[in-house]
């Protein structure tokens, strides 16, 4: 397996609701692509989380705030940074789920849940991180992408 991308990003709260684009190049047609992705921390609890949850309730429930449970019932709050993938020929799917440690494997005929199998041609690819929620002071994301060259490549 050849590592085609390995990077660590420190994501800040002001980057919430933005996409972080990580372009990479496949130097050959591949028979297998493996994405290893982790981020930490995952959760925020206690008084700081309560404050954020209350702010969310006041903003979105507005005048109906009193019909909702206490802010503490929504804890812990979670960072959510999901990952999507583009091949040179288009969108290859997304892993929209909470797990902060993920491994995704794509081949021509199979793919981990959320992703579309297909040829993995050499060229310009793109991985994107989607910062849906960033509730902690920062969050460190680690991405490693490895590729295995096709036998007839």
């Amino acid at each position: 397996m050849t590592t085609v991308l390995e990077t660590e990003l420190r994501v800040l709260p002001e980057q919430e609701k933005t996409n972080l684009i990580l372009p990479f190049t496949l130097p050959f047609d591949a028979q297998k692509l493996q994405i290893t992705y982790t981020y930490a921390p995952k959760i925020l609890d206690g008084a700081p989380a309560c404050e954020k949850a209350e702010a969310c309730l006041c903003r979105d429930a507005g005048e109906y705030r009193d019909t909702y449970p206490e802010a503490a019932d929504y804890l812990p709050l979670k960072n959510l940074i999901t990952l999507s993938l583009d091949a040179p020929d288009g969108y290859r799917g997304c892993a929209h789920r909470q797990a902060p440690q993920q491994i995704h494997i794509l081949t021509e005929n199979t793919a981990s849940p959320g992703f579309l199998p297909g040829k993995m041609q050499k060229g310009a690819w793109r991985l994107m991180l989607h910062v849906h929620a960033l509730v902690t002071d920062f969050c460190v994301c680690h991405v490693k992408i490895e590729a295995q060259e096709a036998e007839n490549g």
């Binding site: 919430e16 609701k17 996409n19 954020k52 949850a53 969310c56 309730l57 903003r59 979105d60 429930a61 109906y64 019909t67 909702y68 929504y74 709050l77 979670k78 959510l80 999901t82 999507s84 288009g90 969108y91 799917g93 997304c94 892993a95 929209h96 789920r97 909470q98 793919a111 849940p113 959320g114 992703f115 579309l116 994107m128 989607h130 849906h132 929620a133 509730v135």
Partner: protein
Amino acid sequence: MADLHWFPCELHCHTLHSDGDFSVAELLQTAHERLLDGICLTDHNTTAGLAEASCSRAPVVLGGMEWTTYFGHMPVLDCSAYVDWRDASVDGIDEKLRQIHACGGLAGVAHPFQLGTPICTGGYWEYRVRDWSLVDYLEIWSEGSPYLNTSNRRAIALWGSLLDRGYRIAPTFGRDWHRTAGNKLISACTYLGCMGETLTPAGMKTALQSGKTVVSAGPLFYFKTERGETVGDVIPAGRSDWRFVTDCSRVARMQTENTFVPKEIRVYTNGGRMCLCLPAEGERQTATLDLEPAHWYRAELWGETDGQGGCQLAVTAPIYTQHP
């Protein structure tokens, strides 16, 4: 006019391809057990489950993807090409909706008043839609407790205000189905009115496009005029004889723990004004309405759920009257 058949469907489903607990096979099996004839597979930001699901016949599956963005969740159905959800901006949603429609897709607004980030990321609808005619359907009921739920009441109010402005938007129920645990009112569904006795994905799509939807906690409830016009149609103003149909047979067959007792049939029109209220008695009832031009009229079934009164049991999409 040929009679429509009304098929119970679940329009908002997730699997392991996003953050659901269901495998595709488990989702299909559970939908079948709940006597659902059709589902929309709407995993967050992916259509990966469709390869496995699309060959299902019981239930049939209309493919889609729930755009799960920072500013709202928007199920997109049967889009022939990928339209990028990732660069949707609060003021740019109309252009995205046009792109979706250009690819033959439909778009709905999911749970517009769900709490948003960080509690339910992006769950609160913040997009500033300029032209609501680009929105095909609005989830007025989300999850399983439609009538005691602030966010659903707000969604119904939003829908009513859009109808008042002349937009014709189909109402839907979406369980936002991720797992069986914690499901309330397992008979709740959207009934889709389709031609023919067999439901197809194309039929589901046509029903949504033509506003032939009934949102229900369980009972099938709809109306038609003596001329055979029904939910979603545009008809002349004036005197109109309606026949209401209330059918609890699916709920009975499901053997759920929930009980529904219809008490009242109501018809609402512009401004949320109730223009008809009659006691619910039996499966078929008639009433005469005097319809004003350029109005909408929707029927609602009210009654008891699990012994509690004052519950909405079903809401039809409107019938619309022609402009003078």
